[in-house]
Amino acid sequence: MTSTTLTAEDPTGEQMLGTLAPRNFEDFYRARREQVFRGLALTLRDQHLAADATDEAMARAYQHWRSVSGYNNPEGWVYRVGLNWARSRMRKTTREVKGFRIDGQAAPEVLPADPDLAAALAELPVQQRAVVVLRFYFDWSTEQVAKALGVPRGTVKSRLSRALERLETHVEVSR
């Protein structure tokens, strides 16, 4: 994962380092948009919503770039704004959106690589799912996840702990 660190998009590896994140919005956009989209898609389990959320968040990142560019982890900020936007959007549809279950129908979700695990993930509250994705897909440390989501480290740990516990239980039950 984090394939962008290997490619020509980030030949110096600078962008992996929080304080060296691109100071220019265009560079940031080109370097990080795909990764933010993937993170949001894995969290929301809905590519369309993730695409919308990514673009909304990127527009807001530009809108506040003079502040956002100074953050240690602009990518985390964009992810958080995108996630909150998507959650708000989902709430506004007055539908229950919990992973795959949207009015009892299948959403245009992410192709599950591990169906049992995907089903278990879908049962998690989105806040727990976000922590799981940031920790195990982005491979961010607890502190990085905490900063990205704007929550204390203790909260990240507790959400992660609860999430893993629920995932273990669900996967065990489904076997």
């Binding site: 530009y62 979700e109 992410v110 929550v151 204390p152």
Partner: protein, 715 residues
């Protein structure tokens, strides 16, 4: 396999099938700029960072001493409506009933359309837009002509090659298209003009020197008059990095303005010691270093590229007696000595791309004056950024002007220095051209009004904090939309002093203003704030209310019904404002009185419970259109919108007896989640649309969404 590894593997496999739809930073910039304008509206901030964030959101609450854009906007209201404010709101004089029809514009099925603009001309209407053929991948200028707004004929002009259309603009006399061509290393900007939208004249532009680190943007404003056409734009210059103080080494590193070099000076004396290339800090080609920082192997880029596509996820090479194993799955490498099998170096892949240590030698003595671990350098750099608050882009404004559409000259319209400049209004009126520029920061926002009779010699005629939107001229008067806490329509005799003539109802924000024989029409939408209702927590006789829209936290005494504390905040800031303490360990927060004593102590459970309550009340209805009409510029009426299913209208043309609007169809904007089969999804509020199937893998369909105009006539 444990759960953590299972998650990693599943995410990685799933992510391989996830690809973001096409997008560009320019789209985000344009969208962001529009949002910035919306932000100045105040109550219509579209910021969502706190929605659902509970205490997490409070962490974002900010220092109210930061430059508050909203406050500046608010002050403009007071100033520019001094006269009208005392008279109170200027509501609608009544409702005018319009009959609306939605008309699909003819176009090839595979063509996506965006940036549509419409004008009234010669008794009919002309619409122009950017088209993108999904099959050929080429862009084209699309033009539709109509005598009555109901029946349209299409003409298209192919651009070919790598040329893309940045924006299409309408003037009183015709159209201007801004194009960009990127040859892989350089970008060329082009301007095309047309009087009929069908025949385009290619212009030559003298943009002058554009330095490395500078970017040219066009603000979407243009005007024509007396044979001259003017287009407004902005040049943004990237900031230089802050000086990095390396205290242990006693030196300071300063970037030389985008030159790719750094000056090393003595921390105490300020004397220049040497100048180094950027790669001497960051590293050049990927390489492997030994434990003492000695170069062991320069890794060929071809090897790294090949490793990306390696089926096994493991790529191996041997060179100079060193065997390198590169694990694409784990993004790690191991270098071993072939002869002995000893591991020489190992680490993560990103370590290949950076120097192991920062070493700078004195050019005279050859002695190392800096020799430090890169992590130490990164810490110093982080400290430099955290201390500085002035490392932001700078913007300068300019216009391009032509008399024949063939030769364009750049004229700088230099006002106050600003981090951000928006050339947001341009019109040709009785006294020539009027140009308005909003400049932001670092500590204040101002608007400048510039005038020119010929489009070349510009003089500033006013500087204030009024926020105008689109401006049109009519019968010797100027009319403008404005974005403040009470959006509406304003009039002016000189483009500088404005009087409110129409105030919108709450939540209504106009996007476009048109003028024609029928009169003036302002069109926009009823905006959903996206922020939801305030969050409220009652505990021990006191209630805390967090109003995300207003950016305000209030604590009241329930029994006395008295306000105990009000804290203003900016939800974009990372740190909590004075008066709020966040307990990071327990995820709670304490609200302090002005003397520092706790007023309320809230736990995570308190906040999450309140958030759950708040969500129940949220309901999304999607944007609905809003229109105002004036036959004479003085009396304004609300327009009925029954049958007008447009969301985010972007252009309006007013003809002899009809009004034509372009924008997004509401039904495409408010797509249904979870619907089966094919769905059309509008990704941008500028009308950029893509169509996907609901298959698990994202597929761009060959059939693009339809493009509509709405035609309205007074009944």
């Amino acid at each position: 396999m444990n759960m953590e590894d299972r998650l990693r593997e599943a995410f990685d496999q799933e992510a391989e099938h996830l690809h973001a739809p096409s997008g560009s930073p320019e789209t985000a910039v344009r969208r962001g700029r529009r949002r910035r304008a919306s932000n100045l509206i105040g109550g219509a901030t579209l910021i969502l960072a706190l929605v659902g964030g509970t205490a997490a959101g409070v962490q974002l609450l900010g220092d109210t001493e930061d430059p508050p854009e909203q406050d500046l906007a608010a002050s403009s209201v007071v100033k520019e409506t001094d006269e009208s404010a005392s008279e109170g709101p200027l509501p609608s004089a009544g409702v005018v009933d319009f009959a609306w029809e939605r008309i699909a514009l003819p176009k090839p099925n595979s063509t996506n359309v965006w940036d549509t603009q419409v004008v009234a001309k010669d008794g009919g209407f002309i619409a122009v837009a950017t088209g993108w053929d999904q099959q050929s991948g080429l862009q084209q200028l699309l033009t539709w002509n109509s005598a009555d707004g109901l029946s349209w004929s299409l003409t298209s002009t192919e651009l070919g090659g790598e040329r893309t259309i940045d924006q299409v603009l309408a003037t009183d006399d015709g159209f201007v298209a801004v194009t960009r061509t990127f040859d892989g290393s350089n970008e060329t900007i082009g301007l095309l003009t047309s009087t009929d939208g069908a025949t385009w004249t290619e212009g030559e532009i003298d943009l002058g020197p554009i330095a490395s680190g500078q970017h040219v943007y066009f603000s979407g404003v243009t005007a024509s008059g007396d044979g001259t056409t003017v287009v407004g734009g902005v040049i943004e210059t990237e900031p230089v990095e802050p000086p990095v103080v390396l205290e242990a080494a006693g030196v300071v590193l300063e970037e030389n303005g985008g030159q790719g070099t750094y000056t090393v000076t003595d921390l105490e004396t300020g004397e220049v010691i040497t100048e180094i290339e950027a790669h001497e800090i960051w590293g050049g080609s990927p390489a492997i270093y030994g434990p003492d920082g000695e170069l062991l192997l320069v890794v060929p880029l071809e090897f790294l590229e090949d490793s990306v596509t390696a089926d096994s996820g493991l790529a191996i090479m041997e060179q100079d007696g060193i065997r390198l194993e590169f694990d694409f799955e784990e993004f790690t490498y191991v270098a071993t000595e072939v002869s002995s099998g000893n591991v020489l170096a190992s680490g993560t892949q990103d370590e290949l791309y950076r120097n192991p240590r920062l070493r700078i030698a004195d050019p005279e003595t050859g002695d190392l004056i800096v020799d430090m671990d890169m992590d130490q350098f990164f810490l110093a750099q982080e400290k430099a950024y955290s201390q500085g608050n002035e490392y932001f882009p700078e913007s300068s404004s300019f216009v391009l002007v032509t008399d024949d559409g063939e030769t364009w000259s750049r004229v700088d319209v230099a006002g106050n220095d600003s981090q951000q400049a928006d050339v947001n209004g341009l019109v040709y009126g009785a006294d020539g051209f009027v140009l308005t520029i909003n400049r932001y920061g670092p500590e204040e926002a101002t608007r400048e009004v510039w005038r020119s009779t010929d489009g070349r010699d510009w003089e500033v005629s006013a500087s204030d904090d009024f926020r105008n939107g689109q401006i049109v001229s009519r019968d010797g008067m100027y009319y403008s939309l404005s974005y403040d806490r009470r959006p509406g329509v304003f009039s002016s005799t000189d483009g500088a002093n404005w009087t409110r003539i129409y105030e919108t109802e709450s939540g209504v924000y106009f996007q476009a203003l048109g003028s024609g024989e029928l009169g003036l029409v302002a069109v926009g939408q009823v905006e959903d704030t996206d922020l939801g209702p305030p969050l409220s927590v009652s505990k021990e006789g006191r209630t805390m209310t967090l109003d995300y829209v207003e950016g305000r936290l209030t604590v009241t005494d329930d029994e006395m019904d008295a306000v105990l504390r009000v804290i203003e905040f900016d939800i974009y800031d990372e740190d909590p404002p004075a008066g709020i303490e966040v307990d990071e360990d327990n995820f709670g927060l304490t609200i302090l009185d002005t003397d520092g004593t706790p007023l309320m102590v809230l736990t995570e459970e308190d906040m999450e419970g309140a958030e759950s309550e708040r969500e129940i009340y949220e309901d999304y209805t999607g944007p609905t259109p809003a229109l105002a009409y004036s036959p004479d510029g003085a009396n304004w009426f609300t327009v009925s919108t029954a049958g007008l299913d447009v969301a985010y209208p972007r252009s309006v043309a007013v003809g002899e007896d009809a009004v034509v609007i372009v924008g997004e169809p509401s039904d495409q904007y408010s797509r249904e989640f979870g619907s089966d089969g094919s769905v059309t999804q509008v990704l941008g509020d500028d009308g950029v649309s893509f169509s996907y199937s609901t298959a698990t893998t994202l597929v761009v369909e060959t059939e693009a969404p339809e493009t509509f105009v709405w035609v309205g006539r007074p009944r």
